[in-house]
Amino acid sequence: MNRTRQPTDWKGAAFRRRTRRRYAAERRFRLLGLAAVWLSAGFLAFLLASMLWQGASGFRQTRVALPIDLAAARLAVTPAQLRGRGADLALAGAGLEGVVDRAATQAYGGAGTDLLSDGAWLVVRDAIKRDPAMLDRRVTIAVPVDSALDVAAKHDGNPQAEATIARLTAQGVLTTGWNLGFLTAADSTDPTRVGIWGAFKGSLLTMAVTIGLAFPIGVLAALYLEEYAPRNRWTDLIEVSINNLAAVPSIIFGLLGLAVFLGTFHLPRSAPLVGGLTLALMTMPVIVIAGRNAIKAVPPSIRDAALAVGASPVQVVFDHVLPLALPGILTGTIIGMARALGETAPLLMIGMRAFIAAPPSRLTDPATVLPVQIFLWSDDVDRGFVEKTSAAIIVLLVFLLAMNGLAIYLRNRFETRW
């Protein structure tokens, strides 16, 4: 029986059809991929655009010109006091706030004090500290307006406020300026005085604790599991456990923090220390997993080469394996840190939700973090907090970008060096 194959007719109709279909499939796949990329980019752009649109106004404040006759006020402070550290106290004690109120009434009538923000006198105080000679003159200082008016100036207020704004604009006494206080002040009940610095510092401290604990422990655990641990049932169990830990909902870590750190160890509530500990527990599995994969990817030939030249196991790990695995480990760290930075639920559980008026100075001071602050502000009834919430989101995004940027820079530096 003749079993020889017929020569394949590559140019025949059937094959041409197959080829066309194959090309079409390839094209389709490419287009799908491109569409997916555009869609993702679109979502991202939409998010950023809407945030910027809503939050940009939070960085600007409306001010009204306030004429004050400081010479006539005759504040009982000396230039020497103004130069020293007790200046704030001295000026407060000298009744500067009252002077400002009276100046407001004088300039704008009986409801004049309602025009000004509660923090207006602080602006005057800072101006005097900068230029003590002012005390002998009469000056006009642009001070922040009340929150309702500020909102109205940004076209979101009630009709009464809008009318006042219209009137003041006609008088030509309104200006807008950068609300730098937003970045330097702490939380407040008054939207015009509120700042993100408290939450920012809280986030910084919490992140510091988180990285400080999760990174070394995670990396060392990954190194041990990959390089030293024997391959038996126990290590398999550990691997499965760590993988599952990474998928546990974050609020459970919050419960753990509440029960153990606050309940058993009686650590101070609401402190970055506790927040950092909780988040470290959450982040560590991510770093261990990323670390193990990165270490597994280091080719065995490098280890062999190091061993053959007489390196001890520790030297093999720290001189050769770790530097090569570092880019992968840092990538895992970035992912873990980004997740930790944005976590709200576990921190709420351990109490970082209170109103904190002063930025924390120590790890054990009560604090709050950016996402929690955003949550709290978004809950507030005052209209003035709407834009501040979006502004805070922008600050959070910038913080995130900066952190990621730093990690990517570090990763690239280690990658090219070797």
């Binding site: 030939s301 053959a308 030249v309 007489g310 030297q315």
Partner: protein, 252 residues
């Protein structure tokens, strides 16, 4: 005269599977010994027992005795790290560290404390690279990455790295398999030059290479040492039929 390496009745097991079956062989100083044999005959496995690289495999078990200058290298009192500095190894695929050429060669002396001052280290690096026949080609670019060199140069860099710790024995596991004929010839010439200072054991599946570089040849087959003798005798008049069949190309 004591042999540099003396293996007596060595068997190697991977779990239940026996890879090496009661092999006894002596390697002398100033000598190149070639291990030849078909794939899977155990020549690489046996080579790795000589510097305890088999320790990295969890299921490996070695019985018998291997003496380096009279000391049993598998005794608990033997420091593996120092052993591997005295018995260096070059691998089949060149594996320079992803560091600079200088660092590649200086790493060994540094971790063993053989040189601490920069000047001493420089001298060692230069000497090793010269002995490996690589100095002239790289002396102006010592800070370039070791992985940027060509295959043959990388292998010579690995040899320089092994030499830098001043070993007594150099083990080579098919060092030229991945190289072209010119690079291979350069390395064979290098081996010839190194012969006087170090005992060299080279595993190769290229019989002509074994014939060219070695003074003694050992033929392995199915984990056993079938024949061991002077290279000239093995290749012109082997005693064992299995050896003769292998080297004349009568694989059956």
């Amino acid at each position: 005269m004591t042999h540099k390496i003396s293996a007596k009745d060595v068997s190697v097991f991977y779990g239940a599977k026996q890879a090496i079956d009661h092999v006894s062989i002596d390697v002398d100083q100033d000598n190149v010994v070639a291990f030849i044999g078909p794939s899977g005959c155990g020549k690489s496995t046996f080579l790795r027992t000589l510097n305890r690289m088999n320790d990295t495999v969890a299921s490996a078990r070695v019985t018998g005795e291997i003496l380096l200058d009279g000391e049993d290298i598998y005794a608990p009192s033997m420091d593996v790290v120092q052993l591997r500095a005295r018995v260096g190894m070059v691998f089949q695929k060149p594996n320079p560290f992803p560091k600079s050429i200088y660092e590649n060669v200086a790493y060994g002396p540094r971790i063993h404390g053989l040189a601490t001052a920069r000047a001493d280290l420089d001298l060692m690096v230069e000497q090793s690279l010269r002995r490996a026949g690589l100095w002239d080609e790289v002396k102006d670019r010592l800070s370039d990455s070791g992985t940027a060199l060509s295959g043959g140069q990388q292998q010579r860099l690995c040899i320089a790295r092994a030499i830098a710790v001043d070993p007594e024995v150099i083990l080579m596991d098919e060092p030229c398999s991945a190289l072209d004929p010119i690079a291979t010839a350069k390395i064979e010439e290098l081996i010839h030059g190194l012969k006087g200072r170090y005992a060299i054991v080279i595993v190769t599946h290229n019989m002509q290479q074994a014939a060219r570089v070695s003074q003694q040849t050992a033929f392995f087959h199915l984990g056993q040492l079938v024949e061991f003798g002077r290279t000239g005798d093995i290749f012109t008049n082997p005693r064992e039929e299995r050896t003769r069949d292998y080297i004349t190309g009568r694989y059956g």
